[in-house]
């Protein structure tokens, strides 16, 4: 069990895994919205409709992989910390967004092969999904840049050495 947790936390890589994987849905779904809009403005034709479809698929596949890594990172945060609650909102919003894009994908399944324009409803879903995703991703970023989640977790020893060499008071190991 521990090997699985370490795998999901990215210890083998020396870098937390969740923020790496999160890049893909975070890029793909807003990109899908851009492609949808381009298709509405008659730019790109079927190529762009297909591209939007593939982007949503790639985003969904990676989001499914990113979810367990995020859950493991979150479970390591103490409940009384402000980052715990932010993590909870981040998770709930991400689940909702993933669901929205799954529905979105289902709606275009029948038409993406020939259509030269994305329908209104999937376009709307892309827009709503992207907005919520941006909010959620911002919360994820706040966990790192405001509360230091996963920061200096794997490099703690290196910094301890530097602090020791710099004559600092240190906690006992």
């Amino acid at each position: 069990m521990k090997w699985l947790l370490d795998l999901l936390k990215g210890k083998w890589l020396g870098h937390p895994l969740h923020p790496i994987l999160a890049h893909v849905p975070m890029a793909m779904w807003p990109a899908a919205l851009i492609f949808d809009l381009l298709s509405q403005w008659q730019i790109g034709g079927n190529a762009i409709v297909r591209l939007s479809f593939y982007a949503i698929v790639f985003g969904l596949a990676t989001a499914v992989l990113a979810a367990p890594t995020g859950l493991v990172d979150w479970s390591g945060i103490k409940k009384e910390k402000p980052a715990w609650k932010i993590g909870l909102y981040h998770m709930a919003l991400n689940l909702f967004v993933t669901l929205l894009f799954a529905v979105n994908l289902g709606l275009r399944w029948q038409t993406f092969r020939e259509a030269s324009e994305v329908d209104r409803v999937p376009l709307l879903l892309s827009a709503v999904g992207t907005l919520i995703l941006i909010g959620s991703a911002y919360l994820g970023g706040r966990m790192v840049y405001e509360y230091g989640i996963s920061v200096a977790r794997m490099s703690k020893k290196k910094w301890r050495k530097l602090a020791e060499a710099g004559g600092a008071n240190l906690p006992s190991e």
């Binding site: 893909v24 190529a47 991703a137 910094w159």
Partner: protein, 283 residues
């Protein structure tokens, strides 16, 4: 200020790591669509789609570069992450150049059913280098703490460490007075990062008084010279531990151990740090 904007201070979140999602995701997408064109050459329009993904990737990469340069230039010159940041930057410039060539090479073959060897090869090289570069960027945040908590600081952070030696300092029995002329020019809320014979410390001016304390937080050893000040408390940029800079006492965790503090004195109109002999320091 433009620098503060590009560092994302109003958003309380750095801009560069927000924008880099797009080139990373889109270059990957373009590569996957290239591969799809090899697997199913009957599917139409794949290469055109791959081209659009790449075009948007290059555009967003160029936009992300601007806040990236600012973030790089704001890293302290002797920070262990500075070299990593330089590598990250050079690799990214190489990657964007390769994708620029890639885009140009494939622009004339958008109607082909399958991707040809040269652009595919360029994509593979691009993805490889981008993975390394993205990884280095992540290490800058998660190992080096670059841009973590930076928005909490209102004043500029030290661009370098100043080095001094006790050797030529005026002796006073067990203590040595080491003048730090730069400290006189500090404004409220500003800091110096200085090193006196391996002893690394922060000098800060708060409420028109100078205070000196150890540079490294006692939790995960974050840089207090880049911390923010709340009254007489310094807050570590990384995990928000607070210390009273007058006494070194922890006022808010996660840190549990107090800071070492140093005495600031003025002698012959010179500001400096009063240090006990090196071997006495560790008590």
């Amino acid at each position: 200020m433009l620098k503060d904007l590009l560092e994302g201070k109003p958003l309380r979140h750095p801009i560069h790591p927000m924008l880099v999602h797009f080139p990373i995701g889109l270059f990957l997408l373009s590569f996957l669509v290239d591969l799809a064109s090899l697997a199913c050459p009957d599917a139409p329009n794949l290469l055109r789609g791959s081209f659009y993904a790449m075009l948007l990737g290059i555009t967003t990469a160029l936009v992300a570069a601007m806040p990236g340069f600012v973030d790089y230039s704001d890293i302290r010159r002797d920070h262990p992450g500075k070299v990593t940041a330089a590598r990250h930057m050079i690799l990214n410039l190489v990657v964007v150049t390769i994708y620029g060539i890639n885009l140009w090479v494939r622009s004339s073959t958008l109607s082909d059913p399958k991707i040809s060897l040269l652009p595919l090869l360029l994509s593979i090289i691009g993805i490889g280098l981008l993975s390394v570069s993205g990884y280095l960027g992540g290490r800058l945040v998660y190992d080096e703490g670059i841009a973590v908590g930076r928005h909490k600081r209102r004043t500029p952070t030290p661009q370098d460490t100043l080095h001094f030696s006790i050797e030529h300092a005026a002796r006073d029995g067990e203590a040595a007075f080491v003048p730090v002329p730069e400290a006189e020019h500090l404004r409220n809320g500003e800091t110096l990062r200085i090193e006196i014979d391996k002893e690394v410390m922060t000098i800060a001016r708060i409420d028109n008084q100078l205070y000196a304390f150890q540079e490294f937080c006692t939790h995960r050893f974050g840089p207090l010279s880049e911390g923010s000040f709340h009254g007489f408390n310094v807050q570590c940029p990384w995990h928000n531990s607070c210390f009273d800079i007058r006494t070194g006492k922890v006022t808010k965790g996660p840190a549990k151990v107090d800071l070492k503090t140093f005495k600031i004195e003025i002698r012959d109109r010179k500001v400096g740090v009063l240090l006990r002999k090196a071997h006495d320091q560790k008590t």
